[in-house]
């Protein structure tokens, strides 16, 4: 009985997070428009987009794997949502070492997409996949380096424990570990695939990369994946560095992080893929490694 309630609760959370992510995306589009001196779409525009995509018919298909690609992508992000503490609430699955599992699961979605788009055999998709996987080498490393000092400091590899132990406002990890937080924020920019790191989905260059052959409902699933990924990715940084709190605080924190990312994205042009990875391995990685010094000074 208890497990059924837990599963229902999780389904509810997943729906809520998807809609929240879509609304974040809509507000992000509005903010970008205002920065560019435009009026911008309504904040619920992304929800309409997804509804429309699910209402389309006779999409192109290029084989079984092509159809399953978006499903794997969505499954991967929904599974990583199980490990993420939303504010101070207990995640569905929590054990010692779940940070590593969470980070592995974050890779499942891009890989699923790569498998699916690969079967489409469009050259643009192939370039997009190659760029996406190369990009992952850049930001994953920085993200790990920014989280490891916290795991050493609290002597735990359980995300839930890590969030619980850091406490509320004045005890945020952000203040002692500000260097790691800064590196994490730069990694977030690449993880969300926004400018200056939007080499993967570069609409005017490689015709939206891995998504080039997808249409209709498949594209709708990919949009949902992006929406949930927004919450999961900002949620990781918010949980790790910005303390714990209720669901309301969690929404406020993830939204502020999302706003920072969107505003940076609105004013930057695009790196080339080589430049992007080089950038990650130079500056944020050095900043992240300097973050380890806090362990010696502050403890």
């Amino acid at each position: 009985m208890a497990i059924i309630i837990k599963i229902l609760e999780y389904i509810l959370i997943a729906f809520g997070v998807a809609i929240l992510g879509l609304i974040y995306g809509g507000i992000g589009r509005k903010i970008t428009a205002r920065i560019q001196n435009r009026y911008g779409p309504p904040f619920y525009q992304n929800i309409l987009d997804v509804l429309k995509l699910f209402g389309k018919r006779n999409e192109a298909s290029h084989g079984v794997m092509f159809d399953l690609g978006p499903v794997i992508a969505l499954t991967g992000i929904l599974t990583s949502l199980m490990f993420l503490p939303l504010g101070s609430s207990t995640p569905l699955i929590s054990f010692e070492g779940d940070i590593f599992v969470l980070f592995y699961l974050l890779v499942v979605s891009p890989l699923g997409m790569a498998l699916g788009a690969g079967e489409g055999a469009n050259p643009n998709a192939t370039i997009g996949i190659a760029r996406g996987l190369t990009m992952m080498l850049g930001y994953e490393l920085v993200l790990f380096v920014s989280i490891i000092p916290l795991m050493i400091h609290y002597d735990t590899a359980s995300f839930y424990k890590l969030v619980q132990m850091q406490g509320t406002f004045p005890n945020w990890n952000f203040f002692p570990f500000f260097l790691s937080a800064f590196a994490g924020l730069i990694a977030l920019q690449g993880m969300m695939g926004l400018q200056p790191f939007d080499v993967v989905v570069a609409p005017h260059e490689i015709a939206s990369g891995p998504m080039v052959e997808y249409s209709g409902r498949f594209l709708g699933l990919l949009q949902l994946w992006h929406a949930i990924a927004v919450i999961v990715e900002t949620g990781i940084i918010a949980d790790a560095f910005l303390g714990n709190g209720g669901a309301g605080w969690f929404i406020l924190k993830t939204f502020s992080l999302f706003m920072i990312v969107i505003m940076v994205a609105a004013i930057f042009p695009r790196f080339r893929i080589g430049q992007a990875v080089k950038f990650y391995w130079k500056y944020p990685l050095i900043i992240g490694l300097l973050g380890f010094l806090v362990l010696f000074i502050w403890r």
């Binding site: 560019q36 509804l51 429309k52 209402g55 999409e59 609409p203 939206s208 080039v212």
Partner: protein, 169 residues
């Protein structure tokens, strides 16, 4: 069902097939001055993802092949807006040997915009008209193409063959 219809008319992803001079009217329509994103219309990179095909000017026979192919790659329901007098009756290319004069013979068109070229105001006006047409269920050109596929294919084949014939001479 009403929600799907509503979202269909409020979120049109468009692909502009940039032929002729109409393409130059699109940047102002997209950017700060006229801003079509207000109506949920954004440019998409590929025909697979888009709902709305903009044919922005005259079409040579060679380009027409690509337009037909792009149009057939789009997922239904799909809409077409044709720009300027060239797509209606040939315009200034009336007596040209390798342009098509009536786009409507080869792919179904929902809305024509008059002018040479139409201003961004006219384009925005056409977008709103199309939105209203979708709301009322009148934008059914894609159904027309599916039902009369033979007729359209015949017309296309005719013009493609003529091209082959004239190349021989």
């Amino acid at each position: 069902m009403g929600l799907f219809k509503f979202s269909r008319s409020r979120s049109l992803w468009m692909m502009h097939f940039c032929t002729g001079c109409g393409a130059i009217e699109m940047p102002p329509t997209m950017t700060s001055r006229y801003d079509m994103e207000r109506f949920g219309i954004i440019p998409m990179a590929t025909p697979r993802q888009s709902d709305l095909l903009l044919v922005t000017g005259y079409l040579t026979v060679k380009t027409l092949k690509r337009v037909v192919r792009s149009y057939e790659q789009m997922a239904e329901p799909k809409y077409v807006i044709a720009f300027g007098s060239c797509t209606m009756r040939g315009g200034m290319y009336w007596d040209s040997y390798n342009t098509v004069k009536e786009l409507d013979l080869y792919i179904p068109v929902d809305i024509y915009i008059n002018g040479c070229m139409p201003r961004p105001e006219a384009i925005i006006d056409a977008f709103i008209k199309l939105r209203d047409m979708i709301d009322k269920g009148e934008a059914n050109a894609w159904k027309n193409y599916r039902d009369n596929l033979d007729w359209y294919k015949q017309n296309q084949a005719k013009v493609f063959d003529i091209n082959k014939w004239s190349a021989k001479i």
